[in-house]
């Protein structure tokens, strides 16, 4: 009778291989959420880029193709830029008519996020721009919306919220992380908002002049007493502008003029002769030379403090 081969116990080597295989399978499934790669997000201005990066972190790759010396609100993309926007996973728009080029190009609606949609009933129509219509009863073209919505920090927080919601829809498994980052960002924005409120409350009616009609949301939020002119910080003031200023000062005796960028010294000197000091409040629509959105805004607030003569 031929003896049967005894059944052998499974050896340790086989068990080790089996365990390794199982761990590998588990590891691959855990990494599935990141297997898709970071979201390709295109934006139309720097504040949205900053918000998206703060909220999305490593899970987003934010693209903002506007050159640093161009105002994004009036930038015109070429066909390659438009194609890049079309291929994005998400396209973050500011809304309120910002980025005029958006009205004349084809973008996939499923990828567009109008970050100011929730407060569109609170858009400000600027009186500075004349509209036009056709015929006696024709409707007006809406050229006259103020669009620097992020300068109202409460609106900025809502725009950040819209971004977090859009990212969470795309990557639901990362929702908690996005929410936590949003809360940190909103805390910073609200902190800055409180600082400005406190500063302005000490002297709310102080007359101010702004160099550009881009502060509508900021002045409305904080109830500032402001008259706007339309001057460029990198151009020397000429006599016509100074005459215009004298006319304004008769009704609006301002001591401070707020520039959107560093003014040239010659303009500052001319204003000084009229008893007006200059300060800078950069709207930060494009990438700053140094720092980021929050550092620029904090610097803006510190400079503004001089006008309200408040010491910390």
């Amino acid at each position: 009778m031929i003896p049967r081969r005894p059944l052998t116990r499974p050896n340790m080597s086989s068990i080790r291989w089996l365990l390794t295989f199982i761990l590998l399978i588990v590891g691959v499934s855990v990494q599935n959420s990141d297997a898709a790669g970071p979201l390709n997000v295109y934006v139309v201005n720097y504040p949205l880029k900053y918000f998206a990066e703060r909220i999305g972190g490593d899970h987003v790759r934010v693209k903002f193709p506007v050159a640093a010396d161009v105002d994004p609100a009036y930038w015109n993309p070429d066909l390659a830029d438009i194609a890049a926007y079309q291929q994005a996973d998400l396209i973050l728009l500011n809304g309120a008519g910002y980025a005029k080029w958006v009205a004349n190009v084809s973008l996939p609606r499923s990828k567009i996020v109008d970050t100011s949609r929730k407060f569109k009933n609170r858009y400000i129509y600027t009186e500075e721009v004349a509209t036009h219509s056709h015929g006696a009863a024709g409707e007006h073209a809406h050229e006259a919306l103020a669009f620097t919505t992020w300068l109202d920090l409460e609106f900025a927080a809502q725009q950040a919220g819209a971004i977090a919601a859009a990212l969470s829809r795309k990557r639901p498994e990362l929702r908690n992380g996005f929410q936590s980052n949003l809360e940190a960002l909103v805390t910073d924005l609200k902190g800055l908002d409180r600082d400005i409120q406190t500063m302005v409350s000490k002297n709310p009616a102080i007359p101010l002049i702004v160099s550009h009609p881009v502060y509508d949301y900021f002045t409305k939020r904080y109830g500032l007493n402001v008259v706007s002119v339309h001057w460029e910080p990198d151009e020397v003031l000429h006599n016509r502008q100074l005459r215009e200023l004298k006319g304004i000062l008769q009704q609006h005796p301002a001591k401070w003029l707020i520039w959107e960028g560093p003014p040239i010294p010659a303009s500052v000197a001319k204003l000084k002769t009229l008893g007006i000091d200059s300060l800078v409040f950069a709207p930060c629509g494009n990438v700053p030379d140094s720092g980021d959105f929050m550092t620029v805004m904090r610097h803006n607030v510190e400079d503004l403090r001089r006008a309200f003569s408040v010491t910390q």
């Binding site: 194609a83 079309q86 973008l107 609606r109 009186e127 056709h134």
Partner: protein, 373 residues
């Protein structure tokens, strides 16, 4: 001759069955792929035919607010459609880029539409009009008698789609905003606030300048004048003909359909598969009539064939008797005659099978060519 007759009789009903089945499948495929269509309350057939097959009958128009309504529900992706205008006999389909992703359309040449005034051609349109990327195409006026209505816009061909064997092949696609420019709702012209000619200005106030009808509107959108193009009024009030709603999941689709059930609802939501299935059921009832006619013809032909065999036997009676007299048994004679009949029928069957194989292999293209425009 006899073989040919029997072949034809067997082949016709099977071939017809095959072609009708293929037609039904092709007609239904587009409807099956499109989950839901939203439009103004009325004929769901007109709505589906215009939206999916770009039919000539334009349903009552909706506004973009209806598309925003669907977007706000977060249940479905809305793809607005505006199928109203034509260019050289081909329908102009105003829509968004989401349409192409939804249909899985790919570019064969050129690029996707990018700016106002761009158009993308279906494969057959490009072939029949001999157009390629970079060429131009002018939209047709809606009516020769409405001089103040839709006027021609010169569109730039940005790209040509790959052949899809669907109605997309014979359509010209434009952005929704370009369709509105064709309608005259959007336009470009000189800066009205800078006009010097008094005959161009109706009324000027501090905040607004009203222009007269004499102001020239550009009929072509170029790089130079594109920035001047704009729309008046609220875009939510702008017209569309329908919305393709793509639910995010089955439950969302059901919920969305439920939102349009109210008696006061002025819009309808239709499931194209149900609408087209109902239509085809009616159309293919005619098939029963055809079947009956073929059955009658078949019966008549079978009787004729039997008559021919009988007459043939009668005519060959003397030959059969001769075979019997020279020693061939009755059974063998019967076997000979039976073999003759079997060979004829078998030959017919083989020919019929060959023909069926040929028809099956070309059914797809044959149906497209013969029945589907």
């Amino acid at each position: 001759m006899l073989v040919a007759c029997i072949t034809l009789i067997s082949f016709l009903p099977f071939a017809l069955q095959l072609l009708l089945h293929e037609s039904e499948r092709q007609l239904m495929s587009r409807a099956v792929e499109t989950p839901l269509v939203v439009g103004k309350k009325g004929s769901s057939l007109d709505l589906v035919m215009n939206t999916l097959y770009f039919g000539d009958d334009v349903p009552e128009l909706l506004t973009m607010a209806a598309s925003d309504r669907i977007a706000d529900t977060d249940l479905s992706l809305p793809i607005p459609m505006y199928v109203r205008f034509k260019t050289r006999g081909n329908p102009i389909v105003g829509t968004t880029l989401d349409y192409f992703e939804f249909r899985g359309s790919k570019m064969a040449r050129g690029r996707q539409m990018a700016v106002l005034g761009d158009c993308v051609l279906g494969a057959r349109v490009a072939e029949s009009l001999d157009l390629k990327p970079g060429d131009s195409l002018v939209s047709s006026p809606e009516s020769l008698f409405d001089l103040a209505g839709v006027y021609p816009l010169k569109m730039k061909v940005a790209g040509v789609l790959q052949k899809s064997h669907t109605p997309d092949d014979r359509a010209v696609f434009v952005d929704l905003k370009t369709a509105w420019v064709i309608q005259g709702l959007g336009h470009g012209h000189q800066d009205v606030t800078q006009l010097k000619d008094p005959t161009l200005v109706l009324k000027r106030t501090e905040s607004n300048v009203a222009a007269t009808a004499k102001l020239f509107h550009y009929t072509e959108i170029t790089e130079k004048n594109m920035a001047s193009f704009h729309f008046h009024g609220n875009l939510s009030a702008y017209p569309i003909s329908a919305i393709i709603a793509v639910p995010y999941d089955a439950k969302s689709g059901t919920i969305l359909r439920g939102r349009y059930l109210s008696k006061n609802e002025t819009q309808q939501i239709a499931k194209p598969e149900e609408v087209i299935d109902g239509l085809l059921q009616n159309i293919f009832r005619i098939k029963n009539v055809l079947d009956a006619v073929i059955a009658m013809v078949t019966l008549a032909t079978v009787l004729a064939v039997i008559l021919v065999f009988a007459l043939s036997l009668r005519l060959r009676q003397r030959e059969i008797q001769t075979i019997f007299k020279i020693g061939c048994s009755r059974m063998t004679t019967a076997k000979l005659i039976a073999a003759e009949i079997v060979i004829i029928i078998f030959s017919s069957a083989v020919l019929c099978s060959v023909l069926m194989v040929v028809v099956r292999s070309v059914a797809n293209d044959l149906v497209r060519m013969l029945f589907i425009k």
